[in-house]
Symmetry: C2
Subunit: 151 residues, 2 copies
Amino acid sequence: MIKLSTKGRYGTRLMVNLARRQRLGSEAVILKSVAEEEGISIRYLEQIIIPLKINKLVKSIRGAGGGYCLGRKAEDIKICDILKALEGTCSLVECVEDDQFCEKTSTCGAYEIWKGATDLLRNYFESVSLEDILEIGNKKTAAAKRKAKPK
Amino acid sequence: MIKLSTKGRYGTRLMVNLARRQRLGSEAVILKSVAEEEGISIRYLEQIIIPLKINKLVKSIRGAGGGYCLGRKAEDIKICDILKALEGTCSLVECVEDDQFCEKTSTCGAYEIWKGATDLLRNYFESVSLEDILEIGNKKTAAAKRKAKPK
DNA sequence: TCTATTACAACATATTTTTATAGGATTTAT
DNA sequence: ATAAATCCTATAAAAATATGTTGTAATAGA
């Protein structure tokens, strides 16, 4: 398994959840409700959302009646932004980002492979926004409805 | 970091090393020399090579003068084969491989993203063979030589 | 046949990172 | 004031990442 960590996965679901609820009209979304909907421990989400907040991907409103909302428009938040905030980088291996990391990069055969794969991934994650994901979700739901109630 | 584990990384370097030495005429390559060349603990390589052997990506020759060699031609070993042997799968998340893994896949917005990224990666890793990597390495070396000794 | 070399195996141990839970402090609307 | 939230710190549990030890088995070459 080329592992996308739980931080990256849960954090993305958190952001998608926030985007969806915001589109449906919610002002501030409380983390507890996200935790329940997504089936993730609220204590863990609290930790995960910190870097999202630091990177201005979400804004927080403290106190009663508070919660979280997106830091900017859903179409301006790319998956890559989320992963970068949570995992440090969007790449598969350190050496692709940091040429100090390994002294063998100039002779390493595998390097070119990790570079190629990382570029592919980064391109993809840079191209997809939260808005795009919501659209995909809508199509899925519509398709499911057509299947359930044909004609 | 979307992490490619050390098993996957070291294992790939091990295989590339084996392929290169084999092309240069070595019969059996002893693990100790790979460990030294790659700067990886031999103890760890011993653990990593076990699944490579089980999956017939390498053959072992026991006893004095023994060592390891590729299980088949370098052009017939794809990166994907190596990663599958070492990491179980070539995918970013469990749910893409195993629909029993998470009950939310039908409604999960993020699912389509992980699926798309995984397909991209798999395609790429299925397309690159050890032979291809050696060719890339040759070009790099040639380019470096041209640069060092121009005209 | 003996010896050195090498793979193979089964553990044990240590360190670090990831994953997750817990308790309480702080802020704020009502 | 109180309840509802975020915020902050500590700790626990599990997995990944190694390293160490003590062998056994196979084989080439002297």
